[in-house]
C-alpha cells in the first residue's frame, strides 16, 4: 500500500537556495528542528563541562580539611553556579535537544509545530545562559545556592550585596521563557502533528515522556517566574515580599520555589525514562513490557509531582499534619516509578540481549537510579529527613538521581541516536571503557556521601576541621571525581574521532522499531519523502518482520504482522524533487527577538543602580523587539503565501 501524501500542517515556504544564508551563518537563521536539536545538545554539553569544572574545583577544596584553595565567597559562587548550570543549562536542555531532534521524526512530522518559535527558544536559552555567566565578569556571580533561599538572597551588606542574584533571576527568566515557549511547541507538535494512524496509544514512549514533561513545564515554571519577580522587586524596588521584619515571609519563597522545584525534578528525569524505554527493548530484541503501564505511570508521576513540594521543607517545621500529607504523597511516587523499573526489568528478562554501549548506560541508569530512588524514599520520611536534610546524604541522593539517573540515561540516548544524527557510530569500545570509568568514578564520588551525611557532614560548607572522621572519604571522593572527568573527556574524544572517521551507519543501525529509523541517517531536511501511515506501536519493526505474531495487550487477539499494512520504506526515502516539499524558510527574526529581550533584561538588572543607561537599554531593546517581530511576521506571511 502506498503511503498517503498529506499536506504539511504548517505555514511553509519554498526554500530559496540563493536567499538562504549558507555555511556557518545558516546555524543562526535555521528553523529546522534537527539543527536546533543539535544546537541545544552542543550548547548544553558545553555548559555541562563548565558545571563539571566548577564541581572539580569544589572537590579540590573539600579534599583535605582546613583547605584554603578557594575562599568562602568563591566557593559559594561555584556551588551556586554548579547547581544552577547542571539543572537549567545542562540536563534540561540536553533532554530538550534530544526531544527536538527525535520527537518529530518519531511521530512522522516534518518539523515542530512552530519552527520559528523553536529557534527563539534555542536563542533565548543560549543568551540566558551567557547572561548568567557574564555575572562572573560583571561584578560577581550569584552566591546563595541554586535554590536562592530568601532572605539570604535579599540585598544587604551581610547578605547578597552584588548583582549576582539579579543575574540569577534575570538569566534564568530568559531560559524560563525559552522553556515555556518550547513546552507549548512540544505539546502542540505531539498532540497535533502525528502521522496518520499514530493514535496517542501508539506513540513511542519517548514521545509520551516528552509530552508529560512539557505539561509539567508549562504548569511549574510560572511559579518560579513569580518567585523571581518578587525577589527582583525586593532587591531593587523596595518591596518586602520575603522580609520578615517588615511583614513579609521567607516561607513564601520556599513554597513558590519548591512548587516549581519539585516538578522540575521530573522535568529532568521523565524524558530520560523515555530514552531508556526506547533503548532497552531494541537491545533486548523484545517489545517493551507493559507499554500502557509505562505511559500511564508517566502521567501519574507528572500529576503527583505537583503534590509533594513541601517535602523539601520538612526541616522548616510545617507541623505534623502537613508533614504527614507531603510524606505520604512523596512515598506514593515510588509506586509509578517502581512500576516503570519492573517493566524495564521484565523487558530485559528472557530477551536476547545485545550488550552495546547504549545498553550499558541504560542498565547503569537502572541500577544507579534505584539507589537514588531508595534514598529518596528514606528522605520522604520526616523523622529521617530531619536528621539527614542539609547533610551530604541529600547531596548523595540527588546526584544518584540526576547524575546516575539523568546523565547515564542521556549517555544511553546519545550512543543510541548518534548514528541517526551523524550517519556514523560512536566508537563502541571507547564507549564501554568510558562507561566503566564513569560508573566507578561516580560511585566512589557520591557513594561515600551517604556515609558522610549520616556522620553529620553538612552540605554547602566550604571547609571542615580535621579529625571529624570525614577526612578519608572526602579525599577518596576528590580523587574519584577526576575519574568522572576522565570519562567525560573520553566521551569528547570519542565524539571527535567518531565524527571524523567513525564507522558508517546505515539508516537502521540497531534494527530499531520506531519511525526515526525509517529515514536516512542523517535525515534530510524534510525528514520523510512522504508522510508514513502508522498501523501499530512499532511500525518499522512490524514492517520488517511481518511473519511474527503481534499482540499489544493480553486482551486483544494477536494478529499476524503481515495483516498490517507495512511501511513503504522505498517510498519514504525516494529522491525528492527540489521545491516539491515546502519547508519554513530560514530567518534571523527569532535571533533578533532573543537579543532584544536580552538587552531589555540587562536594562532591568541595572535599573536600581544605573537608572539612565538602563532606561535607554530598555527602550532600545523594546524598539529592536518590535523590529524583530516585524521581520518575523513578514517571514511568516511570505511562507504562508507560498504554501497556498
Amino acid at each position: 500500500m502506498a503511503t498517503v501524501e498529506r499536506p504539511l500542517q504548517r505555514p511553509v515556504g519554498i526554500p530559496q537556495a540563493s536567499a538562504a544564508p549558507s555555511g556557518w551563518l545558516s546555524w543562526f537563521s535555521t528553523v529546522d528542528h534537527k539543527k536546533i536539536g543539535i544546537m541545544y545538545m552542543l550548547s548544553a554539553f558545553v555548559f555541562f563541562i563548565i558545571g563539571g569544572i566548577e564541581a572539580l574545583l569544589m572537590r579540590i577544596q573539600l579534599g583535605t580539611p582546613n583547605n584554603t584553595f578557594l575562599s568562602p565567597d568563591v566557593y559559594n559562587q561555584l556551588m551556586t553556579m554548579h547547581g544552577t548550570t547542571m539543572v537549567f543549562l545542562a540536563v534540561m536542555p540536553l533532554n530538550v535537544g534530544l526531544g527536538n531532534y527525535i520527537v518529530p521524526l518519531m511521530i512522522g512530522a516534518r518539523d515542530m509545530a512552530f519552527p520559528r518559535m523553536n529557534a527563539l527558544s534555542i536563542w533565548l536559552f543560549i543568551l540566558g545562559g551567557l547572561m548568567l555567566y557574564s555575572s562572573f565578569i560583571l561584578g560577581g556571580a550569584p552566591n546563595a545556592g541554586w535554590f536562592a533561599y530568601a532572605p539570604l538572597t535579599e540585598k544587604g551588606p551581610t547578605l547578597s550585596a552584588t548583582h549576582g542574584m539579579d543575574y540569577w533571576i534575570l538569566g534564568l527568566t530568559l531560559t524560563g521563557v525559552a522553556s515555556i515557549a518550547g513546552a507549548v511547541n512540544f505539546i502542540v507538535t505531539i498532540l497535533n502533528m502525528r502521522a496518520p494512524g499514530m493514535k496517542i496509544n501508539r506513540m513511542p514512549l519517548f514521545a509520551w515522556a516528552q509530552l508529560v514533561t512539557q505539561f509539567i513545564v508549562i504548569f511549574a515554571f510560572p511559579s518560579l517566574t513569580v518567585a523571581q519577580v518578587f525577589l527582583l522587586f525586593d532587591r531593587n524596588f523596595g518591596t518586602r515580599f520575603f522580609l520578615a521584619n517588615e511583614g513579609g515571609d521567607p516561607m513564601l519563597w520556599l513554597h513558590l520555589f519548591w512548587f516549581f522545584g519539585h516538578p522540575e525534578v521530573y522535568i529532568l528525569i521523565l524524558p530520560v525514562f523515555g530514552i531508556v524505554s526506547e533503548v532497552l527493548p531494541v537491545f533486548s530484541r523484545k517489545p517493551i513490557f507493559g507499554y500502557a503501564f509505562i505511559a500511564y505511570s508517566t502521567v501519574a508521576i507528572g500529576f503527583l509531582g505537583f503534590l509533594v513540594w513541601a517535602h523539601h521543607m520538612f526541616g522548616t517545621g510545617l507541623g505534623p499534619m502537613v508533614d504527614a500529607f507531603f510524606s505520604g504523597a512523596s512515598m506514593l511516587i515510588a509506586i509509578p516509578t517502581g512500576v516503570k523499573i519492573f517493566n524495564w526489568i521484565a523487558t530485559i528478562y528472557r530477551g536476547s540481549i545485545q550488550m552495546k554501549a547504549a545498553m550499558y548506560y541504560a542498565l547503569g541508569f537502572i541500577a544507579m537510579f534505584v539507589i537514588g530512588g531508595i534514598s529518596g524514599i528514606t528522605l520522604a520520611s520526616p523523622p529521617v529527613d530531619l536528621q539527614q536534610t542539609d547533610s551530604y546524604y541529600v547531596v548523595a541522593h540527588f546526584h544518584y538521581v540526576l547524575f546516575g539517573g539523568a546523565i547515564f540515561g542521556i549517555f544511553a540516548g546519545t550512543f543510541y541516536w548518534f548514528p541517526k544524527f551523524t550517519g556514523r557510530y560512536l566508537n563502541e569500545t571507547l564507549g564501554k571503557v568510558q562507561f566503566w570509568i564513569l560508573l566507578i568514578g561516580f560511585n566512589l564520588t557520591f557513594g561515600p556521601m551517604h556515609e558522610l551525611g549520616t556522620q553529620g557532614m553538612p552540605r554547602r560548607i566550604y571547609t571542615y576541621e580535621a579529625g571529624m572522621g570525614w577526612d578519608f572519604w572526602n579525599m577518596v571522593q576528590t580523587v574519584a571525581s577526576f575519574g568522572i572527568a576522565i570519562a567525560v573527556a573520553l566521551f569528547m574524544w570519542n565524539m571527535i574521532v567518531s565524527l571524523r572517521s567513525g564507522q558508517r551507519a546505515t539508516n537502521d543501525p540497531w534494527d530499531g522499531a520506531t519511525l526515526e529509523w525509517a529515514t536516512a541517517s542523517p535525515p534530510p531536511a524534510y525528514n520523510f519523502a512522504s508522510t508514513p501511515t502508522v498501523h501499530s506501536r512499532r511500525p518499522l519493526w512490524d514492517s520488517k518482520y511481518p511473519d511474527l505474531d503481534v499482540a499489544h495487550s493480553p486482551t486483544t487477539k494477536p494478529v499476524k504482522r503481515r495483516e498490517l499494512a507495512p511501511l513503504d520504506l522505498e517510498e519514504l526515502n525516494r529522491p525528492v524533487e527540489p521545491g516539491s516539499i515546502h519547508l519554513p524558510s530560514p530567518t534571523f527574526a527569532p535571533l533578533y527577538v532573543a537579543i532584544a529581550l536580552c538587552v531589555v533584561f540587562y536594562g532591568i538588572l541595572y535599573l536600581s543602580t544605573a537608572a539612565i543607561p538602563s532606561v535607554i537599554a530598555i527602550v532600545v531593546g523594546l524598539g529592536f523587539f518590535a523590529f524583530g517581530v516585524t521581520v518575523w511576521l513578514r517571514a511568516a506571511d511570505r511562507d504562508n503565501a507560498s504554501a497556498h
Binding site: 508549562i218 518586602r240 512548587f259 495483516e563 504554501a643
Partner: protein, 207 residues
C-alpha cells in the same frame, strides 16, 4: 480490528494549512497551552495577595484596601474592560460574516477600551502614590501594585497585539476562512479580562 484502522478524518473546519491530529488548529492549541501557563502565573500572584491580606491588616500601621482604594473609579474601569470583551466578540462575529466594516470598528473599539482602561490605571496608580500607598509603603502596596501592575502589563501587551492585528487586517485582509489572528488575540484578550474579574473581586469586593 481497531488496530488496523487507517481512516484519518480530515479536520472538520478545513484549515488552509492541512489537517491536524486533533482537528484543532495548531496555533489555537498553542494559545490554550500558553494561557494554561498564564493561569498558574496569575494564580501565584493572587494567592500571594490573599496570603498577605490578613498579615497586613494585623499590623498597627496597616494600610487597608477599603480605606486606601476607592471602589467607584475602579468599578468604572472594570466595566470598560468587560465591555471590551463584548466588542471583541462582536469583532470576531463580524469577520466570520465577512463584514469588514464592522469587524474593523469593533476591533478598534476593543483596542480603544483597552487603552481607556490603561489610562485609568495610570491615573489610579498616580493618585494612590500621592495618597501614600506605594510599592514600598506596606505589604498592601507591595502586593497591590505588583498584582495589578502585572495585569496592566498584560493589558498593554494585548492592546499592542490588537493594534497589530488591526494594522495587518489592512494589508493582509482577513475573511471568513482566514481569521485565526483575530481568534488568537481574542482568546488572549478574554483571558486578560477574566483575570481582571478575579483580581477586582478579590481586591475590591471582598471585605
Amino acid at each position: 480490528m481497531s488496530e488496523l484502522t487507517t481512516a484519518h478524518a480530515p479536520a472538520a473546519h478545513g484549515s488552509a494549512h492541512g489537517e491536524t491530529s486533533l482537528g484543532v488548529d495548531s496555533r489555537k492549541l498553542g494559545i490554550w497551552a500558553f494561557l494554561g501557563s498564564e493561569t498558574m502565573f496569575f494564580g501565584a500572584l493572587i494567592v500571594t495577595y490573599l496570603i498577605y491580606k490578613p498579615v497586613n491588616a494585623a499590623r498597627s500601621d496597616a494600610q487597608l484596601p477599603h480605606e486606601m482604594l476607592g471602589i467607584n473609579f475602579t468599578a468604572l474601569l472594570a466595566a470598560i474592560l468587560l465591555a471590551s470583551s463584548l466588542t471583541m466578540v462582536l469583532s470576531l462575529a463580524s469577520i466570520r460574516k465577512n463584514d469588514q466594516k464592522w469587524f474593523t470598528i469593533w476591533l478598534a473599539a476593543t483596542a480603544g477600551l483597552g487603552l481607556c482602561f490603561l489610562g485609568g490605571q495610570v491615573y489610579e496608580f498616580t493618585h494612590l502614590y500621592h495618597e501614600g500607598l506605594t510599592l514600598s509603603s506596606s505589604l498592601l502596596g507591595t502586593t497591590f501594585f505588583v498584582l495589578t501592575g502585572f495585569h496592566g502589563t498584560h493589558v498593554a501587551i494585548g492592546v499592542a497585539w490588537l493594534l497589530s492585528v488591526l494594522f495587518r487586517s489592512r494589508t493582509l485582509g482577513y475573511n471568513v476562512a482566514e481569521h485565526m489572528d483575530v481568534e488568537l488575540v481574542g482568546l488572549y484578550w478574554h483571558f486578560v479580562d477574566l483575570v481582571w474579574v478575579a483580581v477586582f473581586t478579590l481586591i475590591y469586593l471582598l471585605p
